[in-house]
Symmetry: C2
Subunit: 224 residues, 2 copies
């Protein structure tokens, strides 16, 4: 499959390398065609890896992974081009965190809106599925780094797209289907983006990003 990975940071490179390793053709997008980090990644990742502008990558991909910094995601996606995103699944991994004032970061959007919703509103013909944003890049593509059961969330307006992405999470990255929780429409991405506030604190506490959340349920059906 031809896949666009927008963003040249740790998340983009990790996802891109994993997908190339699975035999997909991956094009990494960045703001400029000559981005050094993207070029180096493409060189190292092998013949199925290429790079270009966000527009090049989005035009190339049958599906698109948004691995850009949250504060720059909308601009990056505008560069990618509405027509190159239309009708495609956009896996949105970005979080709207602002580290400019240090740690803890603040959210550039939260509470009654979120980045996933902003993207879906800006690109109504694209199937935005928010997921993977609540774990470290290494855990995204290898959930066995954290032992036992722990979960991912998916949020999106299109059920078929969420089902497709869930299959990708299972088949490509090794997530157990039972550990992927479909929270509902894209407004539920508010909840997983805001979870980053806790994630960042735990990262600081543990000194390692290799952890994840599990949701443990008691007796089913009890309402109180």
């Amino acid at each position: 499959m031809r896949i666009a990975v927008l963003g040249t940071g740790v998340v983009g490179r990790t996802i891109g390398t994993k997908l190339v390793g699975l035999g997909h053709d991956v094009r990494m997008g960045s703001r400029t065609a000559d981005n050094e980090r993207a070029a180096a990644w493409a060189r190292d990742a092998g013949p199925n890896a290429s790079h270009g502008t966000h527009r090049d990558a989005a035009a190339f991909g049958e599906a698109v992974f948004n691995c850009t910094t949250g504060s720059g995601s909308l601009e990056a996606l505008e560069q990618a081009g509405r027509e190159n995103l239309a009708g495609k699944i956009l896996v949105d991994i970005a979080n709207p965190l602002d580290f400019s004032q240090g740690v803890p970061p603040s959210f550039t959007v939260c509470n009654t809106d979120c980045l996933g919703e902003q993207i879906q509103r800006a690109f109504p013909d694209t199937h935005v599925v928010k997921t993977l944003n609540t774990v470290n890049a290494s855990v995204m593509v290898d959930p066995s780094l954290v032992p036992g059961d722990h979960v991912l969330f998916v949020s999106g307006n299109d059920a078929a797209s969420k089902a497709q992405v869930t299959s990708w999470l299972e088949d490509w990255f090794g997530w157990k289907r039972d550990n992927v929780i479909d929270l509902g429409d894209i407004t539920t991405a508010r909840a997983t983006e805001m979870l980053l506030a806790l994630w960042v604190r735990l990262y600081g506490l543990f000194g390692s990003p290799r952890f994840n959340f599990n949701v443990v349920r008691g007796q089913i059906g009890v309402v109180e």
Copy 2:
């Protein structure tokens, strides 16, 4: 021990009943001295239970549990009186959720501030410890309702107060010490209050409040 429980809702009544059952003297506070729900609770809970205004309760208690609605907590605590809270541990269980526009609720404060911090700033002589706010009332006082390991968080500026509250969580409510995570100072309460966004969505999805979060850790010491 003499304990004040401010608030007559499910959380206040559940905490109050549990504490009375353990042999503590509990006074439930509300806005008025003749609150019907508080009176009924005190009648049912037995001779160690009493009720009064927030001021009566806070004056009575050696420790104070804030179980009021988040949007009314600061006003309730002002009624309780600065002098009645000074030097005491205030276990803050409230969440700043506004359900006036329906579900999902919005936060009245979040991101770069939170209710726990607002309370600590307003009552600098009180030891505010935020905890228990991330689980349903029934689970607060009986964590065995959710099987296996799952966690609580504590946030506060005073280490001794957090240690005291952690002992209460263990001795009074049955939480395993290893499942109580000290996140840091009171600013970390932002993270646990914002976790409610996810809690509310999961409650809607499961149709039951008997669930909780666990934090699962991978290999310790890995930094990437």
